[in-house]
């Protein structure tokens, strides 16, 4: 089963697919998918993201795969739904998407063994985990200024039940920018697979329903500009559409962020 959360006609609804361009709200109404506001498809708890979790992407970034997963956490303001807009700051020279398989936890997981891990998965969705590389520094890399920006992590459109997906998922994923494919990969190439990640994380942090693990992205990240349409697709899970917006739309003057000029006074 595929489920979405959408805002329509003054309320938030659960919705399911209904044909190519429509969705069915839980109250029976069938509406065009472009007439609703898509929200992340479940109530999101802790957002856990992986870096360098595809060998090809790690190579692309000139890193050796590590012994231990590269894990970072995001704040809740980073999240937006399908068909949302993500701001590209005017001073950025390299902002890129990252198409990722997102694993949604369905039941609490504390010190779970690898063999039992997949039973804690509720389902899957697609993530587009934008990064602004200009802000990448070598302290707790990648820092929140690169990876936990307002509206820079899209989730959706659907939460697909784990029961409907092979375990572990063996799916092709790809990204299209303005209709042209720029990234492709396959979830079989994860350096640390889902069961390992649940075992690893749950050893020190209890995973709870609604927590989500963004499992990393394969090679093929390119710069995106204001006005671009970015589509992240995972075989059988759907297409997550996002648009790149400029500073002006957010009431910002388009001046460079002052933060980069902050000098340490000590």
């Amino acid at each position: 089963m595929k489920r979405a959360r959408v805002a329509y006609s003054g309320a938030i609804h659960e919705a399911t697919p209904s044909g190519a361009d429509s969705i069915r709200l839980a109250d029976g109404r069938v509406v065009a998918e472009t007439d609703v506001v898509w929200l992340p498809p479940f109530e999101v708890g802790t957002v856990i993201a992986l870096g360098l979790n595809y060998a090809d992407h790690a190579k692309e970034l000139a890193f050796k795969p590590q012994d231990e997963p590269l894990v970072f956490l995001k704040g809740p303001g980073a999240l937006i739904g399908h068909r949302g807009a993500t701001r590209r700051p005017a001073d950025a020279t390299f902002m890129h998407y990252e198409c990722e398989l997102a694993v949604v936890i369905g039941k609490p997981a504390r010190q779970v063994a690898r063999a039992d891990a997949m039973a804690h998965v509720a389902g899957y969705t697609i993530a587009n985990d934008y990064a602004i590389r200009d802000y990448l520094e070598n302290w707790y890399r990648p820092n929140l200024r690169v990876k936990s920006r307002d509206g820079a992590t899209a989730l959706g459109p659907w939460l697909v039940d784990a029961a409907d997906v092979e375990a572990p998922p063996q799916r092709a994923l790809r990204t299209l920018v303005n209709g042209r494919q720029t990234q492709s990969g396959h979830t079989r190439d994860l350096v640390f697979d889902i069961a390992f990640l649940i075992e690893y994380l749950s050893a020190f942090m209890t995973l709870a329903p609604g927590d989500v693990i963004l499992t990393g992205t394969p090679e093929g990240v390119v710069n995106v500009d204001v006005g671009d349409e970015v589509v992240c697709e995972i075989e059988g899970l759907g297409c997550l559409v996002n648009r790149i917006a400029g500073d002006a739309e957010f009431g910002r003057g388009g001046t460079a962020s002052a933060q980069g000029e902050m000098k340490e006074s000590a």
Partner: protein, 236 residues
């Protein structure tokens, strides 16, 4: 609508007069001695240059401990590093605020005890050391902003088993409270109920199973907690 997921709320944290309903963010490397202690290593690989942007870590919900609660540790042989911090409690939504306006978004201040595993290096996020279950205790009172004349001149004292183990002062921070709010809100909106920890002095005191920890911040209060070995006492 009814969610397919019963939201797991984590520890219920009510700190009168504010409910800390939001996200807790820790600021790292905000004490001047943090970089001084690294010396020439700051200019060497993998860092190469001192940080320019604010360095943050999310303290996830399962790490948080309600006032009066204990810090949990699984391994009795393990030592935790005590991070004593002034927490800024956000009162009104802060997005891209100017430094001059930043303190106007603050509801008040709280004492926070953020226990982590001592960590080697600062290159990777180190979630395993910093996002542990039941590791970050919030103080029992939020002191309204108006009662704190200058949040950037507050002495912080850490006691372990009754002995003074560390002294620092928020005047030693790289970024002031206002500057922190301005820099963070430039890319991440701070919401009412969010707590932004302003940073801890480096090389915090060590605590083990059985240790009693007390943190005092002038004008803000005193937080007491213990380190207890055993399973997480998470409420469903």
């Amino acid at each position: 609508m009814s969610s397919p997921f019963a939201l797991w709320a984590g520890p219920l944290i009510e700190v009168a007069p504010f409910r800390l309903s939001g996200t807790v963010y820790a600021t790292l490397l905000n004490h001047r001695r943090s970089l001084d202690a690294l010396g020439e290593a700051v200019a060497a690989a993998p860092y190469k240059v001192a940080p320019k942007g604010v360095v943050l870590a999310v303290k996830p919900r399962q790490a948080l401990v309600a006032p009066g609660g204990d810090v949990q540790i699984d391994d009795v042989a393990e030592a935790l590093e005590v991070g004593a911090a002034l927490g800024i409690v956000i009162g009104t939504t802060a997005c891209a605020v100017a430094e001059a306006d930043a303190l106007g978004h603050v509801a008040g201040f709280v004492v926070v005890c953020d226990c982590t595993l001592p960590r080697a290096g600062h290159f990777r996020p180190q979630v395993r050391a910093m996002a542990r279950d039941v590791s970050c205790v919030l103080g029992a009172a939020v002191v309204p902003r108006a009662q704190i004349a200058d949040p950037d001149a507050l002495a912080i004292r850490v006691f372990v088993d009754g002995s003074l183990a560390q002294s620092s002062n928020t005047s030693e921070h790289v970024r002031t409270a206002a500057r922190l709010i301005a820099d963070v809100s430039d890319f991440m909106t701070l919401m009412p109920g969010d707590v932004l920890l302003t940073g801890s002095a480096p090389d915090g005191p060590r605590a083990r199973a059985g240790s009693r920890i007390a943190i005092e911040i002038d004008g803000v209060g005193r937080l007491e907690t213990r380190v207890v070995a055993g399973a997480a006492r998470l409420r469903a």
